[in-house]
Symmetry: C2
């Protein structure tokens, strides 16, 4: 992305192994993330930046210290590089790994090839060569599914729980899928887009709330005997959505927030008197990858439906435009 | 408190049973809370307000629906009224009870007698008539101990954990006691007052950090291999202390915050990239009261040392002044 709104597909030098822990992968598919729209819209800085942080592909080359993947392996990776060995990784917070590095920007996987540092800690190989039909699902695991799943786990979605999901983008929809899979009793999707409402219901939403802000909070309270939801997933990242999520959570409930915050200022006193648990941030997708890959492999979950437009990598610019204009929820780019 | 700084002990009408779930208690002891200093200093509004929310005493009279306490019982109560029966109470968040009501302001226990609504859900009787020597400890359970304990539980203090405590007031010191009791391996008290450092060490602090703000965060990182503490207790409530606590918590770690927030604005992006668990607010002291009373009864913990000045109720004004000028950490008022 040269400047906001200006996406070009250009030739770059092939990546090379720089560290013994690196791997070079040949991408099979990649995609455009809702968070890529922030720089596209000029809300985050961008200057000739290599875009993309979601990826599946085949290992082409590995550094001398890599032991868990070999050339030819099909792999799924997280959008944050992690060693998976440090104390933080072992506690399940790989996105805060002491070696953490964002794939976005520096590496960029909207490309034919990419160098993945800490390959052993970042990549997870699939049980075999995947059928083409599950490639979109595996790609979703790389970020949106992993992030929605983390949000649902952070919100402690589970049996007997009412879960409210703020945000009907790909991550919000994956939050619905995760809440359903984790056994939630009732899942309230907050959405005003008919197609996304339909997809939310497909993934397990039992109720739809169209109201936003304070009216949205009031509606959630009305649906939960005045108490608020046990678990709330925030998957937008604006001031309104964040405070809507705080307000929708019952006292002692859990808020999992994964929408990348933009200009959000949380009034301390409001959070204080809410009396809720919160956990959020960039999702430690790596923690969940082995489990998610297996669920996809066994056709237990179908996150791939979140892609509603597929284009060849060469047409990336059209993909950004479609998402920016909300003509597409999420665009898959074939390589 | 007539106006900020103007505390008077005056005759008021005796409280009466208004609801069948009420009890009237005769106070044995009460105290002044750090949070009482906010209105005293004019930072919170005050206008001829009945002060006090910490209390131990003897039940004098009960409403017709009260079943768990009878006149003559010695009781300890929480600073928030709770029914202990609703869904929120049963989940352990009594300070967010659907019938929640703050004792501060409306009721006011810096008095000879007080009407306690929802007596069954709010009061806990001691195993018998307490020895006078443990009265201060039982009184501490009513708020500062219960609040510090909740903060330590919220921060998931426990075996193998390093706990940092921001704030060396009574609640912070009780957080140290709780962290120690919960089995924390290392407890870092952030304090620059020699007497409070000494008390922190008495209660179990293994390290003292005098630095504050960013320098304080840097020191905590230095002491924890660059990672930050597993568990952080925030017991002040200012912008600096809150962000110091966020910064001192490692990725995936737990922050328990109980300092009543004043003009705190939490930058969403900073909390987001911190990647931490948080839980805070007015402590559900009622959840912990039975356990805390027993620990005090069995002389297993000695939270009473947090009171370093005892005055008769008539000299309440002097008690406020002593705390305001930091001549006392916490003042006990005998009734």
């Amino acid at each position: 992305m040269h400047t906001p709104g200006d996406v070009r597909v250009e030739d770059r030098a092939d990546p090379e192994i720089l560290e013994p822990t690196d791997a070079i992968i040949k991408l099979t598919a990649t995609c455009i993330c809702g968070s890529d729209l922030w720089p596209y819209r000029g809300i985050e800085p961008v200057d000739h930046t290599a875009m993309g942080h979601e990826y599946v592909g085949v290992v082409e080359q590995v550094g001398s210290a890599v032991t868990t993947v070999v050339p030819g392996d099909f792999v799924v990776g997280s959008f944050v590089i992690s060693c998976n060995e440090c104390e933080i990784c072992r506690a399940g917070f790989q996105s805060k790994c002491v070696h953490a590095e964002f794939v976005a920007g520096g590496i960029g996987t909207q490309a034919e090839k990419a160098r993945i540092p800490h390959a052993d800690g970042t990549l997870v190989k699939t049980p075999g060569e995947p059928d083409p039909e599950i490639i979109p699902a595996l790609l979703a695991a790389s970020d949106v599914l992993g992030t929605g799943w983390f949000a649902a786990v952070a919100a402690e979605a589970g049996p007997g729980k009412t879960v409210a999901v703020v945000g009907d983008g790909a991550v919000g929809l994956m939050g619905v899928l995760a809440a359903k899979r984790l056994g939630a009793e009732r899942i309230i999707a907050m959405s005003r887009h008919p197609e996304r409402q339909e997809l939310a219901r497909y993934y397990g939403a039992t109720d739809i709330v169209e109201e936003r802000g304070e009216a949205g909070v009031a509606k959630i309270k009305e649906l939960t005997g005045g108490l608020g939801a046990h678990s709330v997933i925030e998957a937008v990242g604006t001031q309104e959505s964040f405070m809507q999520a705080v307000g929708a959570t019952r006292g002692g409930g859990h808020l999992g927030y994964v929408g990348v915050n933009h200009d959000v200022q949380i009034p301390g006193i409001q959070l204080f008197f809410a009396g809720i648990h919160t956990l959020g941030g960039p999702a430690p997708v790596r923690r969940f990858l082995p489990e998610l890959i297996q669920l996809i492999w066994d056709r237990e979950i179908d996150p791939g439906k979140v892609f509603d437009l597929t284009l060849p990598l060469e047409q990336a610019a059209e993909g950004y435009q479609a998402m920016d204009e909300r003509r597409a929820t999420k665009v898959l780019l074939t390589v």
